[in-house]
Symmetry: C2
Subunit: 507 residues, 2 copies
């Protein structure tokens, strides 16, 4: 069984170690200072501080410290072995060199450790004679005194970190060397995620969520949680996953739409929710997932839905500012592997009407019907026009044709062909769809009939508006798309830790 | 169709208003100052600040302000009408009184507004001659000048707020009066959620999530998102919902367990995730839901899993402290409807071994086998014993028998019948289950075989440990249970906004 190799490699190392020590027993004065550590099963509490690699710098010089990390690379050279130890995005060079403290067998042991093994190393920090360009900690290195393997990696890695670290772009330097394709990466996601770029991407993703929440908390929003299992295919019926629910059936929610609106009808005023949303859409594109993380918000407003539009516009401004301020290091690491123009935005966010958008497209020779929806391609073209004209990668397109929006969208009071709805775009791709919603049950029923939706299936939603509801609006954001577009990564699978699409539900 | 009543009631009000004005046209000098407002469709931007009811106090006296809220109650009395306006948890009395500014028809109109309608009222704030005990804003009232219905409620409410607000407990004052049962509440959840207690409960719930995240962010954790759609019934196969996935089948994740561990194998160090988890368990109890919100964390540790236990213990301490500090008002509101002993805890958290727990139970006359799991009833009894002895409603029970824990649990190094695992309890009920996990693929395979689990189904999980993984541990918390137990609410349906159980998937 392939999965048994782990202990095999561990055993091989142990045997080798024993052979070394038996043939060269008298001279191995390093015995006890290296080897395979027994499985850490919490047998004892060791009073030892492990220093993160990223924190080791010139100030650490002359200190003897313990470090835990992975063996990134190793290179034996006579009586020395040069190791690079990696911990998350940081790397440091470590030298195992025959000396009065380090025996030959110990150096040899170092050369046998498999790449990606987790190791504990004790060493003295010394200043590097010349900067070590291959490591993030360029000015220091570790003179190894003790080293133990905490968790060995099998010798044959299905994906090499060096390959996973190379830029995709064939025009970029180094692209002649092998680089891993998307499927190989995703099949071996646990290894792929160890690259510096991936370490950074998911920290920035956490940052987007934190900025979303912190900005909305400060504006008086309440975080809520909405059910994913629902009784009926809510928004029209297509593209919904069916679940076997005891002796009956249920469905997976395509969005928290109905529930966040019900929270408004229930007087929560302003709400947001972050959670999984599901789309049973057989789309195999760079921007579709069957399961993604929705950042949703909904708020009661006083008299005009632009109160909502402005709130969301400001939310994005805060997210863009926050990312640029707090994640300088991470963004630089990501750009190294995936080069990209910095994200440009203006404050306050640009808002233009759908009609204006069509006029801009027409000027550029793209003709569309006034009630036609924008195709993905036309969204891109419009994004480029807007960027050239207004110098922003983010903008709001307001007042969509009513015909292309969901049944619960509030019609424009002045022109029934339009609606109080909007999309928001980053680098020419849609990342938020939203609207003022119909808060009157009678008008809602009319629109349900117009759309020929089965009223019985959404009765509890419609009922929510029978007992008074303030005017309200909101929007839903796809987390993975926001991050993909902000970082210019080109594929939403790069911003979903374990992506789901029509062809992939593992790992 | 029942759902059409809304406009009926709206029409009735409008007709009545017209009748009033036609029969008494000459004397209705208030015309234009009251009535049904046209549907707020964002036709115009009105420059008017709506003051939240909770912010109106003695300092507001003599100011003329606009307020939006629901008509909580109204009582016509000759030439006056007393209204209580409710906004979220706050209420204020408003008086519509015939005067030089307010006509008789206007007072009459006020008496016809249906309860729960959303209204806009302009009024002068005056000091109340005697405290208004029935309102939260006791010292002031509003002398109404203008009033408009923004969104009318149908006249017959399926659930009265007064009934929904009464304590459950029959020994409590007022329990003779009708109070709504759980199903009526949940069937009409949008109205039920408007009670002051529910307004407070879900704000405290948001607080638990915020405290969880803020505490872990400060400890260097990274927020991640894990897939809910998985390819195989992961943890043993029972109690899992099946999903139709295009031409094949998939399942809903019972926990983020495998994925948070894979994030550790992928070098994220310390991770947490908040998201929906699913259990297809036909349990109809006060503490089981088929879908709930999991607060999960996982962390690499240096040498002993008690590093994890201490981190989680401190996390709970921070949550309990934070709730007590930040939610004094909300907790008082909740206790008014659902009285409860304050939650007691000690710092650092109490940790006792499973064996000690059994000894304490034995002292109390409860005999159990040493490798037997605690029943719900015995957990309760032990909770009472611990509370009496140590004065804490929270404690950690460490070193469970290996036989009763999942296959990936690390065995105790000194006694193979035990394990490096723990549960945590609030008021004698389990709210967290956790352990050191097996980070060695060989030992993991042995345990998988021992548990007779199909290896093929969890191959990607096992593979995650073949290429080096640091020792790690963690735990999973049920959000709804934590809040139910902290507040002593007795039923997990009270802390899930739209609960899901074997018999309920609506609204």
């Amino acid at each position: 069984m392939a999965s048994g190799d782990s202990s095999d490699s561990s055993k091989k190392l142990q045997e080798q170690q024993q052979n070394e020590s038996s043939t060269a027993h008298e001279e191995d004065f390093s015995q006890g200072n290296y080897g395979i550590m027994p499985l850490i099963q919490s047998k004892e509490k060791i009073d030892r501080q492990l220093i993160p690699v990223r924190d080791i710098n010139e100030k650490s010089a002359k200190q003897t410290i313990w470090v835990r990390g992975r063996l990134h690379t190793s290179r034996g050279k006579g009586k020395q072995c040069f190791l690079v130890i990696r911990h998350q995005s940081a790397t440091i060079q470590a030298v195992v060199c025959v000396s009065e403290n380090v025996s030959k067998p110990m150096v040899k042991f170092a050369t046998t450790i498999t790449k990606e093994s987790v190791i504990d190393v004790e060493g003295e920090v010394t200043l590097a004679p010349t900067p070590i360009e291959s490591c993030t900690q360029k000015d220091v290195e570790l003179q190894v005194k003790k080293m133990f393997v905490v968790s060995p990696a099998e010798p044959r890695l299905p994906l090499l970190i060096e390959d996973a670290m190379r830029p995709d772009d064939p025009t970029t330097d180094g692209a002649q060397a092998p680089h891993a394709n998307q499927d190989t990466r995703l099949d071996n996601r646990v290894i792929d995620l160890r690259t510096p770029a991936n370490q950074a991407i998911y920290r920035v993703e956490a940052g987007v969520c934190k900025l979303f929440r912190d900005t909305l908390d400060a504006k008086g929003f309440v975080e809520i949680h909405t059910p994913k299992i629902i009784s009926a295919a809510s928004e029209g019926g297509a593209n919904v996953f069916q679940v076997t629910y005891f002796k009956s059936n249920a469905y997976l929610a395509q969005s928290p739409q109905f529930y966040k609106q019900m929270a408004i009808a229930a007087d929560f005023g302003k709400v947001y929710t972050i959670g999984a949303v599901f789309r049973a859409e057989d789309s195999n594109t760079h921007r579709h997932l069957t399961e993604f993380v929705g950042l949703d918000l909904e708020m009661a407003f006083s008299y005009h839905y632009h109160e909502v539009v402005n709130t969301i516009g400001d939310l994005f401004t805060q997210i863009f500012k926050g990312l640029a301020e707090r994640f300088v290091t991470e963004i630089a690491i990501i750009n190294k592997q995936f080069p990209c123009e910095p994200f440009e935005f203006i404050e306050p966010a640009l808002r233009i009407e759908y009609k204006e958008g069509l006029a801009l497209l027409a000027e550029a020779g793209v003709q569309m019907g006034s009630e036609e929806d924008l195709s993905t391609e036309n969204e891109r073209i419009l994004g480029r026009i807007v960027k050239a004209k207004y110098h922003t990668d983010f903008y709001i397109l307001d007042k969509y044709p009513l015909a292309v929006r969901p049944f619960y969208t509030m019609p424009d009071p002045d022109n029934p062909k339009y609606s109080n709805s909007y999309d928001m775009f980053m680098r020419g791709e849609e990342i938020l769809s939203g609207a003022q919603r119909i808060h009157d049950s009678q008008l809602l029923l009319e629109r349900v009939k117009h759309h020929k939706i089965n009223i019985d299936q959404i009765k509890s939603y419609i009922d929510a508006f029978r007992y008074g509801c303030p005017p309200h609006g909101g929007g839903g954001i796809g987390l993975e798309r926001v991050l993909m577009l902000y970082l210019g990564l080109g594929n939403v699978r790069k911003t979903s830790m374990f992506p789901r699409d029509p062809k992939r539900i593992t790992p």
